[in-house]
């Protein structure tokens, strides 16, 4: 029996439905069992995805294959989404006590079922999104992702910070959706098409009104800029990241962003012939790099720091977009997945003991050498020290930028890397230099220990031996 790509999404969808039903009818079970079932199911789909032969849809495809593609890029990012969701579910199990405490008078299990089921639907949305090659399909799957995030972001709603985050995310995300629809309408008006391939063909035709299409592209760019947290559409990021439940923050910063970049690459493809596009991206990349890195410098709250750092990394990724190097972006995103999830995993465990401030990490090396080492690897990888995945990500991005003579991007990039070393090492400094206020050990469950170890090993492994990812991306 051969598996085709759409069956993966259907399998995940069925898994999500089954979990909701089980949650509704089997009220007596420990809800964490559901999480384990979800993890096992997603892992199964992940394994199955390796047996799907990538196939790009032919340019004149009709029916389903005119809005859905299963090329290498989308297969890579389907696996990426599945892996992210698995890790996020593991983080959620660690986070369960916090969720419980936010449901008043509830039982031990209150609210957990939905908390574990919603990411599955987000995952389906992400998987559809990376395959979408038609504006209508892009819109629908983007909404699936966004709506499940509305609920997830404001899940622990007793916390006023979370409520603020939820409102901000809802309002601004809805606004960006408006921009997206408006942009799609302009592009459709100018070219008469919603399929990206056919839009490219239409743009090559000299009778097409390019200015109208360009206006549409800029409006779509606004909407996607919101998703990937590019300046000047980043205002929501620090507050939402800080207020949302931490596993959801991790999910937002990895899954949502990665899918945003894939869509950005696909959407920009038809417009590359227009010289204005690249200039626009370069300007956005420069602004994002400078803003993200400079604003991260004074942060004292680790979650907020990671929010700004996610803006900064969007800047490096935008360098890749400006050079239009899909494999560099994909590698960077893979590295970003590992190191960001690693940092969030440690943050969730430590934050439940002490807090989210960087000062709360003081003396962590004494209290839990394992967690401190994991955070060290996460931070130096985010900063870009060799032998970690983060360095190779930056290496490929800078390689592409130098090959295309993007001097401004390279110069600003190097300066901002210097900034990055400062704010990431601030965390290292807290863990290793400062002495702790408390000295009791921090307990780590076996599952988290396993997940964190896997992330550490993967971060270093990819930093030394990047070939597997490069092979997976080879066209």
């Amino acid at each position: 029996m051969t598996i085709t790509a759409p069956e993966l999404e259907i399998a995940v969808l069925v898994l999500g439905m089954a979990m909701l039903l089980a949650e509704a009818f089997a009220t007596k079970i420990d809800k964490r069992v559901l999480a384990f079932v979800a993890i096992a199911g997603l892992a199964l789909v992940l394994v199955a995805s390796f047996f799907v032969a990538p196939r790009a849809s032919p340019s004149q495809a009709t029916g389903f294959w005119s809005f859905y593609t299963a090329d290498r890029l989308s297969m890579f990012f389907k696996q990426f989404s599945l892996l992210t969701t698995i890790f996020v579910l593991i983080l959620m199990i660690d986070y369960a006590p916090v969720v419980r405490s936010s449901f008043p008078g509830g039982t031990l299990q209150a609210g957990l079922g939905e908390f574990f089921a919603l990411p599955i639907f987000t995952c389906v949305g992400l998987m559809y999104l990376v395959s979408a090659i038609d504006f209508v399909f892009i819109f629908v799957s983007l909404e699936l992702v966004a709506i499940s995030f509305y609920v997830l972001v404001s899940f622990t709603r007793r916390n006023p910070m979370t409520l603020e985050a939820g409102t901000k995310y809802l309002v601004l995300s809805a606004l960006s959706t408006g921009f997206l629809v408006y942009g799609i309408a302009w592009i459709f008006g100018a070219t008469g098409q919603t399929n990206l391939q056919q839009i490219a063909d239409a743009l090559a035709n000299p009778t097409t009104d390019r200015n109208a299409a360009l206006l549409g592209m800029v409006l779509v760019l606004v909407a996607l800029g919101f998703k990937i947290a590019a300046v000047p559409f980043q205002i929501w990021v620090p507050d939402v990241y800080q207020g949302a439940p931490t596993p959801v923050t991790a999910y937002l910063s990895v899954g949502s962003k990665a899918a945003g970049f894939v869509v950005l690459l696909r959407v920009l493809q038809p417009f590359l012939a227009l010289p204005q596009t690249q200039r626009l991206i370069v300007v956005i990349a420069l602004l994002t790099l400078i803003y993200g890195n400079l604003a991260a410098l004074p942060q004292a709250n680790l979650k907020r720091l990671l929010a700004y750092s996610s803006i900064a990394h969007a800047g490096y990724l935008l360098i890749g977009v400006a050079c239009f190097d899909a494999s560099a972006i994909s590698f960077y995103l893979a590295a970003y997945l590992l190191m960001t999830l690693l940092s969030f995993a440690v943050l969730i465990i430590v934050a439940q003991q002490t807090g989210e401030q960087i000062a709360d990490f003081d003396g962590l090396a004494k209290r839990s050498p394992f967690l401190a080492f994991a955070m060290l690897i996460g931070m130096i990888s985010l900063a870009g020290v060799p032998f970690t995945a983060g360095f190779l990500g930056k290496f490929f991005i800078f390689y592409a930028a130098i090959a295309q003579h993007q001097t401004a991007l390279v110069v600003v990039g190097v300066i901002t890397v210097g900034c990055g070393f400062y704010y990431y090492l601030k965390v290292v400094r807290a863990m290793y230099w400062q002495s702790a206020n408390k000295t009791d050990k921090i307990p780590v469950t076996a599952l988290s220990r396993l997940a964190i170890s896997a992330l550490i090993i993967a971060t270093i492994w990819l930093g030394v031996y990047p070939q597997p990812i490069l092979d997976a991306l080879k066209r």
Binding site: V385, Y399, I402, V417, F421, L425, V428, V464, Y465, Q467
Partner: protein, 531 residues
């Protein structure tokens, strides 16, 4: 064997982090590495000009990236230096009160990284191994440093991070400046391709400038030097020994390994700039060193100042001066490590390094005083110690470059000024020696004891090395010269084919008159007098 030397330190560091007894493991690892380096030295085949003991693991065929290690004379000298200094530094560490295991692990990571960089034939790993030392240095200064350790740790880390990313840009540009078919991370392949003239002169100039700034920041080239004295003054003694003795030499090694063979046009295009900067190192930093009031700051500045001589050897790019540069790298690494080690012991025993409070310590610490004397005289460049051999070769080589009867060329002017640097270093070194060990002793220091016998072993080892290569520098020279002969002769034949004399290895100042009859050393050109 080469792999063993690299991973000996790194594996020991990982074991120590995992809880192995720190000092014992570290000592065993560094002794083993030193023995392995001696073994390599004993079985080094000087007749073979190419790399020896080569092992290679393919990482990425698409990028022509592989983990390839091996040694030639140049890298063997660097590895020997690194293993000796590591052994001395580990031996000198003693017991650490706070996080002992982490301290030793950091030390071993620094030396493992440095050795890995020296032994890598692959450009990518050459770069990456060096960076392995960045975080350990940050931690060493931050956790165990003294004085203004917080500022010093941030400064060195940010400086070195930016410096190495500039270097990375230079390396990427270097890689891309080769035609598509010749692109490789293998230094041997690049050298061969460059010998065929496959990098355009324009690209060479750009790449060289980036490498010069990138490496320059790592080496503390004036005006990028400000991190060095502060960091070395605040760092615990073993970290200062390793960093100034070994790690800083990575940049010089990189210029010798990459700039000399790959970028001859870049080397002489920017020679004038480099000469001005290195004179800044020698004269300006020399004068700043004289003004220092603390022993640790003085040593920090002096190590910056001595980089100027080595840069002179690299800038003039003759066989004689580059060989001298390697000898001086080796000698300086040993002597500065010795001085930092003894300064660290002094701080431990007296609690201060301010010159005005010290004095007369020679009476209570005769052995330390004698050893410090050796270090001081080596740093000045007294004949009989290895530094002298290196400096004299650099001066002769640089002076001969572009020499003509009628006029002085920029390299002769530079040599004359650099020789004044020897006078400057005599002033500050002897003054430091007098203020610390001579004169009337403060009553407070009556109870201060001499070095423990156990600590005398590494001192004797280092002084022995300085003396040995001071009297027999030829044994180092023989290992290194063939490398530079290959590098420089390949360049000159390529230059002679492509360029006329006016673009020769040496930039001629306008007022210097006709160019006949003084082909620069090491690169024989067709002297085409166009006028």
């Amino acid at each position: 064997m080469v792999l063993f030397i690299i991973f000996c330190h790194i594996i020991a560091a990982i074991l120590i982090m995992a809880g192995a007894p720190a000092r014992k493991t570290a000592l065993v690892a560094s002794v083993l590495a030193f023995a392995a380096a001696l073994f390599l030295l004993a079985f080094f085949d000087q007749s073979q000009r190419d790399f020896q003991h080569v092992t290679s693991f393919t990482i990425s065929p698409d990028w022509h990236l592989s983990f390839t290690t091996g040694i030639d004379g140049l890298s063997l000298v660097m590895i020997l230096l690194a293993t000796i200094v590591t052994l001395a530094a580990v031996w000198f560490t003693g017991t650490i009160e706070k996080y002992e295991n982490a301290f030793y692990a950091c030390l071993l990571f620094i030396s493992g990284g440095a050795i890995g960089a020296f032994a890598s034939i692959d450009l990518f790993f050459f770069y990456a191994f060096h960076e392995l030392a960045l975080i350990p240095t940050f931690l060493l200064i931050g956790i165990w440093g003294s004085g203004n350790r917080v500022a010093a740790a941030w400064k060195i880390t940010i400086y070195l991070a930016i410096g190495s990313f500039i270097l990375l840009l230079g390396l990427i540009l270097l890689y891309q400046s080769f035609p598509l078919a010749a692109r490789s991370f293998d230094i041997r392949a690049l050298t061969a391709a460059a010998g065929l003239g496959q990098i355009s002169a324009d690209a060479q100039r750009h790449v060289y400038l980036l490498l010069l700034i990138g490496f320059g920041i790592l080496i503390s080239l004036f005006p990028f030097h400000t991190w060095a004295p502060e960091a070395y003054a605040s760092a615990p003694a073993p970290a200062a020994m390793l960093h100034s003795g070994v790690l800083k030499k990575f940049g010089l090694y990189g210029l010798l390994r990459l700039a000399i063979p790959l970028l001859p046009e870049g080397t002489h295009h920017w020679a004038n700039l480099l000469v001005v900067l290195l004179l800044g190192n020698i004269i300006y930093i020399g004068l700043v060193t004289i003004a220092q009031k603390r022993l640790d700051w003085m040593l920090g500045y002096s190590s910056v100042m001595h980089m100027g001589y080595i840069f002179l050897g690299i800038a003039s790019a003759t066989v004689l001066s580059t060989t001298g540069a390697v000898v001086l790298i080796f000698a300086h690494g040993l002597s500065i490590a010795l001085l930092f080690a003894l300064a660290g012991e002094l701080r431990k025993k007296t609690g201060t390094l301010v010159f005005d409070e010290l004095g007369g310590l020679g009476k209570v610490m005769p052995f330390a005083s004698l050893a410090f004397g050796f270090g001081v005289f080596a740093a000045i460049g007294l004949p009989g110690l290895a530094n002298f051999a290196g400096e004299i070769m650099i001066f002769f080589g640089a002076f001969k470059n572009g020499w003509e009867m009628a006029h002085f060329h920029i390299f002769q002017i530079a040599t004359v000024l650099a020789l004044w640097g020897v006078v400057i270093s005599t002033v500050y070194m002897l003054r430091a020696y007098r203020k610390t060990f001579m004169g009337t002793m403060n009553e407070r220091w009556k109870e201060v004891g001499d070095l423990r016998p156990a600590l005398r072993v590494p001192v004797v080892l280092v002084v022995g090395g300085l003396l040995c290569y001071g009297f027999f520098p030829q044994s180092l020279v023989q290992m290194v010269t063939s490398t530079f002969q290959t590098y420089l002769s390949a360049n000159s034949s390529h230059l002679a084919d492509e360029q006329s004399c006016s673009h020769g290895a040496v930039r001629r100042l306008r007022f210097m008159g006709p160019a006949d009859g003084n082909a620069p050393q090491g690169r024989s050109y067709k002297v085409a007098n166009k006028r």
